[in-house]
């Protein structure tokens, strides 16, 4: 066991290495590329055995991942943002094959306009695909979650692919002290992959759910996937209990921080949640009773745990780093549906922020806490809010005025050109 400085990408690569993956189909995309670069170097040096193949697209990459997994080998792959969306058809398809594999997604905002910086719109787009989702907040958690993900994915009750998600830049390129488990200890924890009846061979052709089915068998297979995903919640608890036993680190499906006696809570996913931990500490210093709740699993959603953690609060702020156009924050909707039928439940306030890498600072979290208090006094929540300041709008207006001048110049040039052509 060594503790050293690793980026989130480095931690993901170490996770794959310690899980003794056999096959890595790969395609580069910022901010994920460092993961496959690291692995390819290890394959080249003979530090690890197995095979890495560069594919021509993410769509092919996920197809290859699913196909390889169906032969009974342990598969790892990684992507981000547009890459995840390009692979989307195959995410749904290989999940339907009921083959286990682990894919890292390094979250990055979606086009258009294009950005390299992070938010969660890419990963929430894969919410309904059948891939389970583990969301990480630290580099340590990225490594540990990758090991946990193999146990979850390969479990005989589950056998669904798993995405481990980390935020671009804020985790992917950020080094933090990470404890790297001993190879033997990690191997003991992850164990051998028992593919059961998933053993596609050239000499024994089988067909992966390609038949055109009517509603009756289709409903059966799809609903069985849903049940398996729900079953995964209990399996996750067992696996993480074992992990805690062996390595001492606790990864419950719903992380709660100073939340038990709290009147108010922040709810956030991903690494910005550690910023909210800091805000909770400072607000507690100032006499507040406030906590943080962070779903580590988005699929399956730990609904019971959310009810237990939030049911008795006065007001809860859900801070989404995504937008569903025409509705708002996705996590807000998820939490609302989990709490709706409780007889006693908190007011929910929806905030959207951190889009395309936009920071969420401590002052904003303090102000969100103030809004929780005001809302609980009034008994009604304020409308959903995008975290956006007057300074930012001024900056935007400057850009727009430049665009306007350019547009005018372009139009006047075109007009004078067309005048000339009349001459």
């Amino acid at each position: 066991m060594t503790r050293r400085l690793l980026t989130g990408n480095g931690a993901a690569a170490w996770g794959a290495r310690l899980a003794m993956v056999d096959y890595v189909p790969a395609f580069p995309i910022t901010p994920q590329t460092e993961i496959i670069e690291t692995l390819s170097e290890w394959f080249d040096n003979g530090d690890i055995t197995g095979r890495l193949t560069t594919m021509e697209s993410e769509h092919s990459m996920v197809t290859a991942a699913g196909a390889a997994a169906s032969t009974g080998v342990r598969v790892f792959t990684a992507t981000s943002s547009q890459g995840l969306l390009y692979a989307m058809e195959m995410l749904y398809t290989v999940a339907g094959w009921r083959v286990p594999l682990v894919m890292i997604n390094v979250s990055r905002g979606l086009s258009a306009p294009i950005t390299l910086e992070p938010d969660h719109n890419d990963i929430v787009a894969a919410r309904d695909s059948g891939f389970l989702q583990i969301h990480c907040a630290t580099c340590q958690e990225v490594l540990d979650s990758t090991l946990i993900a193999y146990r979850l994915s390969e479990h005989a009750k589950v056998r669904l692919p798993v995405i481990v998600n980390l935020d671009g830049f804020y985790l992917s390129f950020t080094r933090e002290p990470v404890e790297i488990p001993d190879a033997e200890a990690a191997a003991r924890f992850v164990g051998e992959f028992d593919p059961e009846n998933t053993q596609l061979r050239a000499s024994m052709p089988t067909s992966q759910a390609v038949a055109v089915l009517g509603g009756t068998p289709y409903s059966y297979f799809r609903y069985e996937m849903h049940l398996a995903a729900q079953e995964a919640l209990g399996v996750y608890d067992e696996v993480t209990a074992e992990f805690k036993n062996q390595f001492g680190r606790d990864y419950s499906s719903l992380e709660t921080y100073r939340n038990d006696d709290a009147e108010f809570s922040f709810v956030m996913m991903g690494c910005f949640a550690t910023k909210a931990k800091e805000a909770v500490d400072r607000l507690r210093d100032a006499g507040w009773r406030i906590g943080l709740v962070r779903p580590r699993l988005l699929r399956p959603l730990p609904e019971q745990a959310l009810q237990n953690a939030l049911g008795d609060k006065k007001a809860v702020a859900i801070i989404d780093q995504n937008i569903s156009m025409g509705k708002g924050g996705v996590l807000h909707t998820e939490v609302a549906s989990a709490l709706y039928n409780l007889s006693e439940k908190p007011l929910l306030i929806s905030f959207m922020g951190g889009l395309g890498g936009r920071d969420i600072n401590q002052e904003e979290l303090f102000e969100i806490a103030q809004q929780l208090r005001q809302a609980s006094k009034k008994g009604t929540p304020p409308p959903p809010r995008l975290l956006y300041t007057a300074d930012e709008l001024r900056e935007m207006r400057k850009l727009q005025s430049i665009a306007k001048v350019e547009r005018q110049e372009l139009t006047s040039n075109q007009n004078s050109n067309s005048d000339k052509s009349h001459d």
Partner: protein, 322 residues
């Protein structure tokens, strides 16, 4: 917690500097976060990197808004708003700047309340932006300024972070960092750990409700065409394609058709001409040319050849005119 920001240009070694400083803190028992921040990676573009170090686990993340130390490797960045060099500089912030100017000049020019220190270097330096080992020099000086990093940890950090570059490079960097560490001795311990923002007396965020605006305004369209013509993207090139016109069979189109930047034109005689101001050196043309008439040579070799040729021509002209 120490909150430290390095500003420089792509290629000046700021990411490495932040990693060396972060590692040196880590070796001294600190919890550490270090990270670079950039857009589309390219040489010369403004980048920054940051380090947080604390005796307890760090929950803060991302951009440092209230730095205790800001290191500027290239003073031409100060005037570039997008580089955000001055962001959040307060009375507790020390500004360590690589500049030919005096500290008083910067204090006066920027009207900042904190202390300004010029990056100490030995001897006369013609162009400070071209200082060799600039990254390790900045890291060495910064390590001394915070006052809690012993030289042994700085050296060990350089050995770890630069190991992949070989022993000779490591030794040269250790030498430079040690010199910088010693030269900064008079400022040892100038930088002190900043406090946390309290939830009792913070500046309220000035949130606004974004107004609805019609699609004609709120669509992200770039209206100004041809701006890319003004950007000398040829400066990004590390390899240069060179056409051997004796082998060129004047097929008229293959190289120019495949060029993703439209940087190859065919002249009246049917020969392709490469626009070196905009060729990024992707070498697609080298791969596509049917008679293999295009070869790739290193840009630095191409440049020194061109310089030598220009000199020769100058000599010839002066000889001819005399």
């Amino acid at each position: 917690m120490y909150r430290i920001r390095f500003h420089g240009r792509g290629g000046q070694g700021m990411k490495t500097a932040s990693r060396i400083l972060g590692n040196a803190f880590f070796l001294g028992g600190y919890e550490v976060q270090d990270a670079p921040r950039y857009g589309a990676e390219r040489r010369g573009a403004p980048i920054f990197a940051y380090v947080r170090a604390d005796k307890k686990p760090i929950n803060e993340r991302g951009i440092i808004n209230r730095p205790d130390l800001v290191i500027v490797a290239d003073d031409s960045l100060v005037a570039i708003p997008a580089a955000s060099v001055l962001q959040g500089i307060g009375s507790q912030t020390v500004l360590l700047i690589n500049s030919h100017e005096q500290p008083e000049t910067w204090e006066h020019r920027l009207n900042i309340p904190g202390q300004v220190i010029i990056l100490p270097v030995t001897g006369d330096v013609e162009d400070r932006a071209e200082l060799p080992y600039l990254g390790t020099t900045c890291a060495g000086a910064a390590a001394r300024l915070v006052g809690v990093i012993p030289l042994t940890h700085l050296i060990e950090a350089i050995e770890e972070e630069l190991a992949h570059l070989g022993k000779e490079v490591v030794e040269k960097n250790i030498h430079q960092a040690t010199v910088a560490y010693e030269l900064a001795a008079e400022f040892g311990g100038t930088v002190v750990e900043g406090s946390e923002i309290r939830a009792t007396d913070y500046t309220k965020p000035d949130w606004v409700n974004l107004p609805f605006e019609a699609a004609s305004i709120s669509t992200p369209t770039i209206h100004a065409g041809l701006t890319s013509e003004l950007a000398a993207t040829g400066a990004w090139r590390t390899m240069r394609p060179v056409i051997n016109y004796e082998l060129c069979n004047k097929c008229w189109w293959v190289c120019s058709e495949f060029c993703p930047d439209g940087a190859i034109k065919v002249d009246n005689q049917g020969y392709p001409q490469i626009d070196l101001d905009h060729c990024k050196g992707c070498l697609v043309c080298v791969a596509q040319c049917p008679p293999h008439a295009i070869e790739a040579i290193s840009e630095s070799i191409a440049e020194s050849k061109a310089e030598a040729q220009a000199e020769n021509e100058q000599i010839k002209t002066s000889e001819a005119s005399s």
